[in-house]
């Protein structure tokens, strides 16, 4: 870079020589030499410029690549809680737009700032050599300009930050309106959403205009200052030529140097904008890095090799998501290896929270969860999770083939295994009807499939992993009863030798369970087999009766069935 700037700066000096030689001394021999020199310098300057650009670019791109990987790694290791409290859109802009802002600063910003500074210093130095008094013009105008620009940066910086946030807000409104379009439509919410959007859009516009005002105030000053410098040079420089202090060539060189300052001056404003944007980006990225993970490996964590027996114990567990609202209040639960248990409870009783603690999505505030007699905090986190298949209420599909979705937890699964899992989940027939069979793309960018089918993909995913603990959190709510019956039959085989925890709202499903836990207010209030609980005539019995499954008809059907149909 030094070479390229240097070479470029020498050219006007040579022009000075030429003009003085041609117009004043009329020395043509010298002239040819000078012209040759300009040519060589032009080539050198270009070549060096290329090299400096490329080398700074490589450095910047490499750094950004690493930064982006680091951000992603940090993000993926965050607690589940972290994602629950943040908008997807906001996290997205951080990993994309904010990293991009830093990239711009690194790749373009560093180069132009270095090049600009060097050009400025070089020109001042060379002008100094031509004529000291003329340099004073540049310095007198330049120094206040520099301060002015710093003020500009300070004023524009916060505006950029606000703009970003406002833009995030704007996209969130769009996102929310579209995701909830059926609610918007059926409750005539269009005017509400429109006015929300219009307000946000207006605010964004106002912020943009505030920035524009700052730019309009400050940027023209830069160009005007250069113009006034030239005017000063015309007057004082012209005076100097007339009085013979400097030559016409020097005067021309001076003017040419001022011309060369236009680009780096433009850089100053450019750079300040980049700097402020990158600063805002860096601040937001810092938030990702600085939030500590609460759920993490303890020192000397035990790596689980082979299979766990699957004994699960909750000992006096207290848990709250936000630290204020209690969800589990001294929960005790004992599940033997290989037992099939069901958890039943009213809305908000804490059922899902119980199972969320087993793969350590969250850690309890008080009490311990043990598997095979060891506090789960002592296990290596990932080796613990590999022992667990978890099908949650919100079934998530990745935008890839149905095959890869099923094999998500076991990427090296054979096609036979995948088909087997799909068959168990009662999905195979459906898949075979799809245009590309197992290679059909599903998810956000693929074909739309129904809620029940999504749940079955999630079940197939869980089945394929040979885990020792299987957790099904209300996973058949969208599946019709005929399919569910088949599904249950098939699942029964898979459950062999595994500890299974099922949360369900279909009370009939509970009968198969080795044990039923009735949860209320974050505590187990009743537990036992279906018969035991019915005989107890407690809360379970009450629910069972209140549930309108008519025992008389049920009995009749079973009787008829056993007589032989």
């Amino acid at each position: 870079m030094l070479f390229s700037v240097g070479a470029e700066l020498i050219i006007p000096l040579l022009i000075k020589e030429i003009i003085d030689a041609a117009f004043i001394k009329q020395d043509y021999m010298h002239l040819k030499l000078l012209l040759g020199e300009i040519f060589v310098l032009a080539i050198i300057s270009g070549g060096m410029n290329f090299l400096s650009r490329i080398s700074s670019e490589f450095g910047a791109q490499k750094t950004v690549k690493k930064l982006r990987n680091d951000v992603f790694d940090s993000l993926i290791n965050k607690d589940v809680q972290y994602f629950m409290t943040r908008e997807t859109g906001q996290l997205l802009t951080r990993t994309t737009a904010d990293v991009e802002a830093i990239r711009r600063l690194l790749s373009v910003g560093t180069r132009i700032s270095l090049q600009g500074t060097m050009t400025y210093l070089g020109i001042i130095f060379l002008l100094w050599k031509i004529d000291v008094s003329l340099v004073m013009i540049v310095i007198i105008m330049g120094v206040p300009l520099l301060f002015l620009m710093l003020i500009f940066g300070k004023r524009v910086g916060p505006l950029f930050m606000k703009q970003r946030i406002q833009f995030g807000d704007l996209s969130n409104i769009v996102q929310e309106t579209l995701e909830g379009i059926s609610v918007v439509k059926s409750y005539r919410g269009e005017p509400i959403q429109k006015s929300l959007f219009h307000n946000s859009n207006r605010k964004y516009f106002d912020l943009q205009m505030k920035t524009a005002l700052e730019r309009a105030r400050f940027l023209p000053v830069l160009y005007a200052a250069l113009g006034f410098m030239t005017a000063g040079v015309i007057f004082f420089g012209g005076n100097a030529v007339i009085s013979g202090v400097i030559t016409v060539g020097s005067f021309v060189a001076f003017i040419t140097y001022l011309t060369m300052l236009i680009v780096p001056t433009r850089f100053v404003a450019w750079f300040l904008v980049m700097w402020e944007q990158a600063k805002a980006g860096a601040k937001r990225l810092h938030e990702i890095f600085s939030v500590p993970e609460k759920v993490k490996n303890s020192p000397n964590a035990i790596k689980i090799k082979g299979r766990l027996n699957g004994e699960i114990i909750f000992e006096n567990v207290y848990f709250s998501y936000d630290g204020v609202t209690p969800v589990l209040n001294g929960l005790n639960m004992h599940i033997n290896p290989g037992e099939k248990v069901a958890i039943l409870g009213a809305i908000g009783s804490g059922k899902t929270s119980i199972v969320n603690l087993i793969p350590r999505f969250y850690d309890p505030q008080k009490g311990v969860v043990k598997i095979d007699g060891i506090n789960i905090k002592k296990y290596d986190l990932r080796s613990l999770r590999r022992q667990i298949s978890f099908v949650s209420q919100d079934t998530f599909l990745f935008s890839t083939t149905i095959k890869e979705n099923i094999a998500f937890g076991k990427p090296d699964a054979t096609m036979e295994e995948i088909i087997e899992a799909a068959k168990i989940a009662q999905l195979h027939d459906f898949i075979m009807k799809l245009p590309d069979k197992y290679d059909t793309i599903v998810g956000e960018r693929g074909i739309k499939i129904s809620g029940g089918q999504r749940q079955r993909v999630a079940i197939a995913r869980a089945v394929l992993v040979n885990s020792s603990i299987l957790i099904l959190d209300d996973t058949t709510s969208s599946i019709d009863s005929k399919t569910e019956r088949e599904l249950q039959k098939a699942l029964w085989k898979v459950m062999e030798g595994k500890t299974v925890i099922i949360i369900t709202q279909r009370i009939g499903n509970l009968r198969f369970a080795d044990k039923i836990f009735l949860v209320d207010n974050g505590k187990v209030v009743e537990s036992g087999t279906h018969e035991e609980l019915l005989n107890k005539k407690g809360l379970y019995w009450e629910i069972y009766v209140s549930r309108t499954l008519d025992p008389k008809i049920a009995e009749a059907i079973i009787k008829k069935q056993s007589i032989g149909e």
């Binding site: 490589f58 993926i76 609202t325 990745f398 209300d474 019709d480 309108t548």
Partner: protein, 609 residues
């Protein structure tokens, strides 16, 4: 002209619904209301261009007419003229920068509002087939691209064209010979730009593609985070991300090598152009007493030469800005010219009596105009009646619900509400009176109270408390320290599925509908709460017509009528007891379900034996 033709010609016509002219017309329709600002902007552009062209000329005059002839006493005159020109430039520049921003932002602001409004007014069938992410990106990124085009592309091209023409004219006036020499390098530069443009565009497209991939990957990771964590696939996902990131890195490097080789080349050529013009001037002046080309002219030319490359550069840059703006405009226009398939009748009718009588008169319907999902549906649902739709997946239950809500219109036959064809009803009336409670509840990231009152903010807090209590929702809400002021989080993540369903149910009850469609509305609600909901619903919706779609047949004991559907046809209807007695379709379903619910027990017995 050749340039413009090339522009138009080289844009791929395939995948294009609109011509560039149509898109530009669409674009200018948003600028039209701000005509005045546009005209003033153009005036400022013209003034700044003229000033830019003239200032080097004044410099030439200063050198040739004052400095070299040594007219010191009058030097201040020309200096003042120069300074005044700069001053005018300064003032005009302030206006220019502000106005360009204003024009860009105000246009985009209007376009955003227009697009959003149009989008929200579209009928539901549109949203059933569109990806949310894509639509969000159109409203944000695409419209931003258009703003960028206006701010940088369009104004730059106007300024630069004006400048280019001005410079060439003044250069010719000063010295035709020198002009030709100076312009000698421009064919090379244009040629370089032309060659590079193709590669740069390709590289740029690669970058765009990899950025889109990166974004999608991150979004997917965030949304599927629990699945990734529970299957301990973090390392694999990281690796996949790393690969896409590497792809992005390579694309960036490629683009940068291309772009960065151009600028130094141009700088070199620019220096060579100076060399040529100085050399030419010296050669012409050789041996002459009175130089044919003055020092002032040379200085002015060095300045003009520097100003020449900017316009050429931005003319070539304009192409890519133009192209991406056209692509973005295309997507915006595609949405905004999408017409709702469900339209309001120009002369809408409001029923005389608002009771909630629904009649299906020989209704046929298909989604794809080929396979009928509903066949010859004839059905009358009386005011206040509660009707359950029962059948396998794909029997057409949900479709009936969607037709009642007018997400779609029937292909044949008609549906009437209180004896008025749904197509004749004002849309606002229909959506006010007919409410759907879906299986997938949606909550806004706002307070519980806001969510309950959404769409009917006139409801009093007391009414909200009352309804919540009736259906057992208050128990859930009172758990939270902030009660009804609790923020539910994005998409209601702070609540469980069952809690969300309960809230969504309460919202429907509070809107006091004439007709309610419950599509598996309580599938994730526990039996105990469901029982409460049923009792409460009977009370609150006493006069409303209720259509229930449910898998759990045992919840349907108290409905007035059960309608069994099979393959788009009604095959059986009647009261619970009648249907059980009849031992037809419904009886079979029920038996299957009871057996399914018993199957665990049966298998347990088998196992024990």
């Amino acid at each position: 002209m050749g340039f413009a033709q090339r522009l138009a010609g080289s844009i791929k016509k395939e995948e294009r619904q609109y011509t560039d002219v149509e898109l530009l017309k669409f674009f200018f329709s948003f600028i039209k209301p701000h005509r005045k600002a546009g005209i003033i902007t153009i005036i400022t552009l013209i003034i700044t261009s003229i000033l830019a062209v003239f200032t080097p000329y004044v410099l030439k005059l200063a050198i040739d007419n004052y400095i070299i002839p040594m007219k010191f006493s009058e030097l201040w005159k020309i200096t003042s003229i120069y300074a005044i020109l700069i001053l005018i430039g300064w003032i005009v520049d302030i206006g220019r920068i502000y106005l360009i921003s204003y024009l860009g932002q105000v246009t985009v602001h209007d376009m955003r509002n227009y697009t959003f409004d149009h989008l929200t007014d579209l009928s539901m069938d549109f949203f059933e087939n569109e990806e949310t992410g894509k639509l969000v990106s159109i409203l944000t990124n695409d419209i931003d691209t258009v703003a960028e085009f206006l701010r940088n592309g369009l104004t730059d091209i106007v300024t630069n064209l004006l400048r280019l023409i001005g410079i060439i004219i003044i250069m010719f006036i000063l010295s035709p010979g020198l002009t030709l020499v100076t312009l000698l390098v421009t064919p090379f530069i244009t040629f370089i730009f032309y060659i590079v443009r193709k590669y740069a565009r390709e590289a740029y497209r690669e970058i765009r593609k990899s950025v889109a991939k990166l974004t999608a990957k991150i979004a997917e990771t965030i949304n599927g985070i629990t699945v990734i964590k529970v299957y301990a696939q973090e390392e694999r996902v990281k690796k996949e991300f790393g690969e896409i990131n590497e792809e992005n890195y390579r694309a960036n490097i490629k683009q940068n090598i291309i772009v960065n080789s151009v600028f130094p080349l141009i700088r070199s050529l620019s220096s060579i152009a100076i060399l040529l013009l100085v050399g030419y001037a010296v050669w012409v002046n050789q041996g002459l007493k009175q130089p044919a080309i003055s020092v002032g002219t040379i200085v002015a030319f060095i300045r003009y030469e520097g100003m020449l490359f900017d316009p050429i550069l931005s003319l070539t840059m304009f192409y890519s800005l133009f192209q991406s703006a056209m692509a973005a405009l295309e997507r915006v226009k595609r949405i905004t010219s999408h017409e709702s398939s469900i339209k309001e009748d120009p002369n809408p009718l409001i029923p005389k009596e608002k009771k909630g009588k629904l009649v299906f008169d020989n209704v046929w319907f298909s989604y794809d105009k080929q396979r009928f999902v509903l066949k010859e549906i004839n059905l009358q649902i009386d005011p206040g009646e509660s009707v359950a739709l029962v059948g396998h997946t794909g029997a057409g239950k949900s479709t009936i619900g969607k037709l009642i809500l007018r997400y779609y219109d029937p292909d044949n036959g008609k549906i009437t509400l209180d004896d008025v064809d749904l197509r004749k009803l004002p849309l606002s009336f229909l959506s006010k009176k007919v409410v759907l409670v879906p299986q997938e509840p949606f909550l806004f990231n706002n307070t519980i109270m806001y969510n309950l009152k959404y769409g009917h903010f006139e409801v009093t807090d007391e009414e909200v408390y009352h309804v919540s209590k009736e259906i057992g929702l208050d128990r859930v809400i009172n758990k939270f320290p902030q009660k009804y002021d609790t923020i539910v989080g994005p998409r209601g993540v702070q609540l469980s599925q069952g809690e969300k369903q309960l809230l969504s149910f309460a919202r429907a009850l509070l809107s006091k509908p004439l007709v309610v469609v419950l599509d598996e509305a309580t599938a994730s609600v526990d039996p105990f709460t469901e029982y409460e909901i049923q009792k409460a619903t009977e009370k609150i919706l006493e006069n409303a017509t209720t259509i229930i779609i449910a898998h759990r047949l045992s919840t349907l004991k108290n409905v007035d009528r059960i309608i069994v559907m099979e393959e788009g046809e009604i095959v059986e209807q009647g009261k619970w007891n009648e249907l059980i007695k009849k031992q037809g379709y419904f009886y079979d379903y029920y038996k299957a379900q009871v057996l399914s619910e018993m199957s665990g027990l049966l298998q347990l017995e088998e196992k024990n034996n």
